[in-house]
């Protein structure tokens, strides 16, 4: 488990800010202990300090992962957020999209969200904002990037994409061997 370099932590936080905004601070200083980010084989893990100390008792070659994998750094040093970070992002996201039950399956198979599948969207969502996508019963099913602002959404035609798919919980089955 390596400490992230300055450059990499900055990239990680920038990515997280796109989805959660100011609430990134809440990820670091939590009431129930300090959490930190560690990296192993280009994957970033979010673990509490206590758990990290326990993980360090294991031989590094034998340790596969510890904590929650938030995502990984690609070969060209860009950070990619995985679905496994959803539980930590969902409660803090300021902008959300609610998807109709009919379009849920489409999204869970990896397609983008189209206007006809859009249920609700938070007010004043700027264009290209990172959002968390929920079902109509407020269950987070993934996250993505909106392609139109809220006002533009109203005037869009029914088959236009509203949000680009980034990650969905269907990936737990589709790509379970690459998620860690």
């Amino acid at each position: 488990m390596k400490v992230l370099s300055e450059d990499r932590t900055r990239k990680l936080f920038e990515k997280l800010t796109k989805y959660i905004g100011v609430n990134v601070k809440l990820l670091i200083d939590r009431p129930d202990g300090t959490y930190c980010f560690r990296e192993k084989k280009d994957r970033v893990y979010y673990i509490s300090e206590r758990l990290l100390q326990l993980a360090q008792t294991v031989k590094p070659d034998h340790l596969v992962s510890a904590g929650t994998c938030f995502g990984k750094f690609t070969k060209t040093n860009k950070f990619r957020l995985h679905i496994t970070a959803l539980t930590y992002i969902a409660p803090y996201a300021p902008f959300k999209i609610w998807v109709k039950s009919s379009a849920e399956q489409q999204f869970l198979y990896g397609h983008h969200v189209i206007k006809s599948g859009l249920g609700r969207i938070t007010e004043n969502t700027p264009k290209y904002q990172g959002v968390v996508i929920n079902t109509m019963s407020d269950i987070p099913i993934g996250f993505g990037v909106v392609s139109r602002s809220t006002t533009e959404c109203r005037h869009a035609d029914p088959l236009a994409t509203i949000a680009f798919h980034q990650a969905d919980i269907g990936e737990y089955i589709r790509s379970e061997d690459t998620l860690v």
Partner: protein, 351 residues
């Protein structure tokens, strides 16, 4: 008597077929029996050489005479008989043959040879066997039974204090040996390259084909950049230029010292660092949403303009009745029974 005469005549006729062994020459031939060389310096009979009919005969007789003289000389040497063949041992040749190839140039000295010459070091001959104190016997330095003796000595290798206790000392020894062999080989090749005046780059493999590969070019670029007085510290880099990778190039990249692994910060320090980093990132984000501001401004302008238009309509004055044609007036549609009696415009003239 007749029979004897007959035999004698026969013999004479036989010998007359062959020319005599003795040959008369004005000048003696220079004969080197060792190389079977006979040099005839007598004048040639030019007249008979030039004439067509006598030429062949003249040349043949000349050749026969000279060969006869050479063979006479050969027969003068002591003969031996080996396996039913009469053999003559030729003496050492007296004529010196010229060189077929030019004189070889002296080879340039290797690095060690130059150093030894400068220092005055000479080679001391070592014997094959050396007395070994530990084993108390004569041990060969190379060749047969050397490794057996080594094995006897190295039945145990101690791990010294300063070294990691889990290292395999035998493996370490053999790997060191192979490294030495490789180093020696490299130096040998370098000596050859220096002698042949072949240029070898400082880092990386030399260029074999006429075009250098991308890695070789980038290595060369890094080397060139580092060859300044300040070791390339102030050289500009192209915007998308990638740093060269490979063994031995890391030291040459200007300004890139060995990154010492940063000490792992304590949890509190790390937390503070993270929070300050987040603050910096959040501060960098624009506080004013440009698009929103611009669209809001445009919206306000439009509202203002529409209000102005509304307020401008009454002060325009009374309109002349009928002077302006109302282009939006439509022909009243028949059949629907919806005539508009309140309409003031005259409508279309019915023909």
């Amino acid at each position: 008597m007749d029979i004897v005469n007959e035999i004698l005549e026969k013999e004479q006729r036989k010998t007359e077929k062959y020319k005599p062994i003795t040959v008369e020459k004005h000048l003696e031939l220079e004969i080197d029996v060792g190389t079977l060389l006979a040099s005839d310096t007598n004048d040639l009979d030019l007249k008979s050489l030039r004439s067509e009919s006598e030429r062949d005969l003249c040349l043949q007789s000349l050749a026969r005479d000279n060969t006869q003289l050479l063979l006479n000389k050969i027969w003068e040497l002591p003969t031996e008989r080996i396996d039913e063949a009469i053999v003559v041992r030729l003496p050492t040749p007296k004529t010196v043959l010229p060189r077929s190839k030019p004189v070889p140039k002296p080879k340039p000295l290797t690095k060690w040879q130059e150093f030894a010459k400068a220092k005055g070091i000479t080679k001391t001959k070592k014997d094959k066997l050396q007395w070994d104190e530990q084993l108390q016997k004569w041990v060969p330095l190379y060749g047969f039974k050397r490794t057996a003796a080594e094995k006897q000595k190295d039945w145990l290798i101690e791990v010294p204090q300063h070294v990691d206790p889990l290292t395999d000392m035998y493996e370490k020894k053999s790997s060191e040996k192979s490294e030495k062999v490789a180093k020696n080989e490299l130096q040998r090749l370098k000596n050859i390259a220096r002698a042949k005046k072949v240029k070898i780059p400082r880092v990386g493999l030399p260029v074999t084909s006429d075009k250098a590969s991308a890695t070789q070019l980038s290595t060369a670029a890094v080397l060139a950049k580092a060859s300044t007085a300040s070791l390339g510290k102030f050289q500009d880099k192209l915007p998308k230029e990638k740093e060269a990778r490979g063994k031995g190039i890391h030291e040459l990249i200007p300004g890139k010292e060995r990154k010492r692994r940063a000490p792992i910060p304590t949890p509190q320090v790390e937390k503070e660092n993270n929070l300050s980093l987040i603050d910096r990132i959040l501060n960098k984000r624009p506080k004013i949403d440009m698009d929103k501001a611009v669209s809001k401004h445009i919206n306000e302008e439009q509202i203002q303009r529409s209000e102005e238009k509304k307020s401008m309509k009454p002060p325009k004055g009374k309109r002349k009745a009928g002077a302006q044609t109302n282009f939006s007036a439509k022909k009243p549609k028949a059949g629907k029974g919806q005539r508009n009696p309140g309409k003031k415009t005259p409508g279309r003239k019915r023909r």
